[in-house]
């Protein structure tokens, strides 16, 4: 439990963990898909597993669902160890990546499927009523008798959601649920997902490789890489205080400047960059790096200026107009290329800069983060 100080704060605040992973590992032959995962999911939160493909996020989700048994460690749901509990006995439902809707059943029958499995049996009227409510929630009333293949991708997505939430699971697992939708629809569904979660109050666990999706939807994001949990935190914590270069790079865009640490203490460190310039930054990891290190600065935190000749001297190499912002790719002979995102407001004062023009790049001391070199 090294990386989740935030979580400890939460549990101290008295939030009940609905599910936990305790030292969970999963090995497939020679591949260690999940490596000693420790995680506590609070009741009612929206948590995302974020990482590139093969990072173990889907394996983690499948262990919560009961499709995979951990090689070691314990999976808990509602304080019960469920390692050996089959998927059909777990109070957990999943929205599959390609929905996995039953093609031989109607919309109504798909949604009622879970209810029909309950023992003692539910009455037909009860089932109909609950299915009706679920259809209402996903705004598909009137589509009861439709066949799955008569529905659009977005509609199928909602049927899949309704099919899962109608059972009122303790945990709703979502495996890249929006990956198959086009960009516009994805945006809409993201908002719907968030509304839905607030409305029904079920704990959501989402798996995604899309950092934008994870950041915009989740209360907490669990960044994974090579089967391990790299960092857990709120989207803002991950963005502002990444504890490793991996997280800084994966969550949002960042510029990295390599150098040597010359002084550190009190949560700060000074790094001398390759051009001899000393830079101060915050230390987010447990211990300040020693020796080789890198400084991470977000593109929007760098200011370009032609009059204020402090900071790094650069040549504007490329300019991309983005409306509210302008993105510059700038070049320094020693430090290489990096990105600068200038808001329109500052452009009015000092910009815009033309390609080939010389300018000075600088940032506030507090916005830089000093990280291990790799």
């Amino acid at each position: 439990m090294k990386d989740n100080g935030y979580l400890d704060d939460r549990s101290r605040a008295g939030l009940h963990p609905i599910a936990e992973l305790r030292g969970v590992s999963k090995r497939f032959g020679d591949v260690l898909a999940a490596d000693n995962l420790d995680l506590s999911i609070s009741s009612g939160e929206f948590l995302s597993f974020l990482g590139p493909s093969g990072c173990g996020k889907t394996t983690a989700l499948r262990m919560l669902a009961g499709f995979e048994t951990p090689t070691s460690g314990e999976v808990l749901i509602d304080d019960q160890v469920v390692n050996d509990l089959e998927a059909h006995r777990r109070p957990v439902n999943m929205v599959f990546q390609s929905y996995a809707l039953f093609p031989h059943l109607t919309v109504e029958q798909n949604i009622g499927y879970g209810l029909r499995q309950q023992r003692p049996r539910l009455g037909k009227d009860t089932i109909r009523e609950k299915v009706g409510q679920a259809l209402d929630v996903v705004r598909l009333s009137g589509f009861e008798k439709r066949r799955i293949w008569e529905m659009s991708g977005g509609q199928q997505q909602r049927v899949a959601l309704a099919r899962a939430i109608v059972n009122q699971p303790k945990l709703l697992l979502l495996d890249e649920p929006l990956a198959a939708l086009d960009r516009k629809l994805r945006k809409e569904m993201q908002i719907e997902l968030q509304d839905l979660q607030r409305q029904i109050g079920i704990t959501f666990v989402l798996v995604t490789h899309d950092q934008e999706e994870a950041l915009s939807l989740s209360d907490r994001v669990c960044v994974m890489g090579e089967g391990r949990i790299i960092q857990i935190g709120t989207p803002q914590e991950l963005y502002d205080s990444p504890r490793s270069r991996y997280v800084a790079d994966f969550v949002g865009t960042s510029n990295f400047f390599e150098g040597r640490v010359t002084a550190s203490g009190a949560g700060r460190a000074t790094v001398v960059l390759k051009n001899g310039m000393p830079v101060e930054g915050r230390v987010t990891a447990e211990a300040a790096p020693a020796g080789e290190a890198c400084v991470s600065v977000r593109p929007e935190q760098i200011r370009l200026s032609r009059s204020d000749r402090t900071g790094i001297e650069v040549v504007v190499h490329n300019r991309i107009f983005l409306g509210e912002h302008t993105e510059y790719l700038v070049r320094n002979g020693t430090l290489g290329d990096f990105l600068v995102l200038s808001p329109r407001q500052s452009e009015l004062n000092d910009g815009p800069f033309n390609t080939g023009e010389t300018a000075w790049a600088s940032w506030e001391a507090g916005s830089a983060v000093v990280l291990e070199k790799s």
């Binding site: 039953f102 093609p103 499927y113």
Partner: protein
């Protein structure tokens, strides 16, 4: 050349084949069935229903066919389904191909040789001899309807396994996970997801086996030993032995009609099952 002309040109070989190899012979048989037997055998043109009036004389062959063909089909299906399920759902990709080949291998040997093998297995020195060793005497297997059914199941099993295997293999395995995730026990998942989605394969397999079985004559001839006669055997006998072409044609026409009627009823049933899917909730 216009698109239309090209279409006709492409259809010509199939049409010609269909006319010469199917429509023509069936028409000939139909015409013969209203004729009479010549003195030395063969066919004499006439228009009489005499041959059809004589059909009850061959009732046994029809009865055997109508009982054993559906029975064999159902038995083959019941044996093929678990096998296909095992191959498609339970077997790893590595073994799948090899095991499938093992299912087809018997197909590469002549049905004649394979049926002969069964004559020995079911005959006096085969299973009955083994049963005698443990004290069960007087069991007769060869030349019984049982022997014919065994032969049928054995011979037609691959034909049944394949369509079922394909439908089960194509089945999206995530649907099974989804079903389990929604609380269905393994058996409930089978009844509500696997089985309904593999019905098309089962239907195809049954149709294929049933149609071929209706015309079967080799297996009854070898394993039925002249005691368990199919319509196919009656035809061989009428055309080649007694050279009564007119009567043989009447039997053939009747067989075709019986086959068409049963296949039509079968197709109707399957079609109804498919449209009824809406309220098929097997549980």
């Amino acid at each position: 050349m216009t698109q239309r002309a090209r279409n006709w040109l492409l259809l010509t070989p199939a049409t010609a084949w269909f006319l010469v190899m199917l429509v023509l012979p069936v028409s000939v048989v139909l015409i013969f069935s209203f004729g009479e037997r010549g003195d030395g055998g063969g066919y004499v043109p006439a228009f009489t229903l005499e041959q059809y009036a004589n059909l009850p004389a061959r009732w046994a062959a029809f009865k055997n066919t109508m009982v054993l063909a559906p029975l064999g089909t159902v038995a083959a299906m019941l044996i093929a389904y678990p096998l296909a399920y095992f191959l498609a759902v339970r077997t790893s990709q590595k073994w799948k191909t090899m095991l499938l080949v093992l299912v087809i291998v018997p197909f590469w040997t002549s049905i004649l040789i394979r049926s002969y093998a069964w004559i020995f297995i079911l005959g006096g020195r085969g299973i009955p001899a083994l049963l005698e060793m443990i004290g069960i005497e007087g069991v007769r297997l060869i030349y019984t309807p049982f022997a014919v059914t065994i032969g049928i199941i054995y011979g037609y099993l691959p034909l049944m396994v394949f369509p079922i295997f394909v439908s089960l293999d194509r089945l999206d395995k995530r649907l099974l996970e989804a079903s389990s995730d929604l609380g269905a026990r393994p058996w409930a998942t089978f009844l509500q997801v696997t089985l309904p989605l593999s019905i098309p394969g089962v239907a195809t397999g049954c149709l294929l086996v049933f149609i071929l079985l209706m015309g079967e004559f080799l297996i009854p001839a070898l394993l039925g030993g002249g005691k368990v006669f199919f319509v196919g055997n009656a035809l061989v006998d009428l055309f080649l032995q007694s050279r009564n072409w007119a009567y043989g044609s009447a039997v053939a026409v009747t067989l075709i009609v019986v086959m068409l009627v049963s296949v039509t009823i079968y197709m109707r049933l399957i079609a109804r099952l498919n449209t009824q899917r809406e309220d098929v909730s097997l549980m």
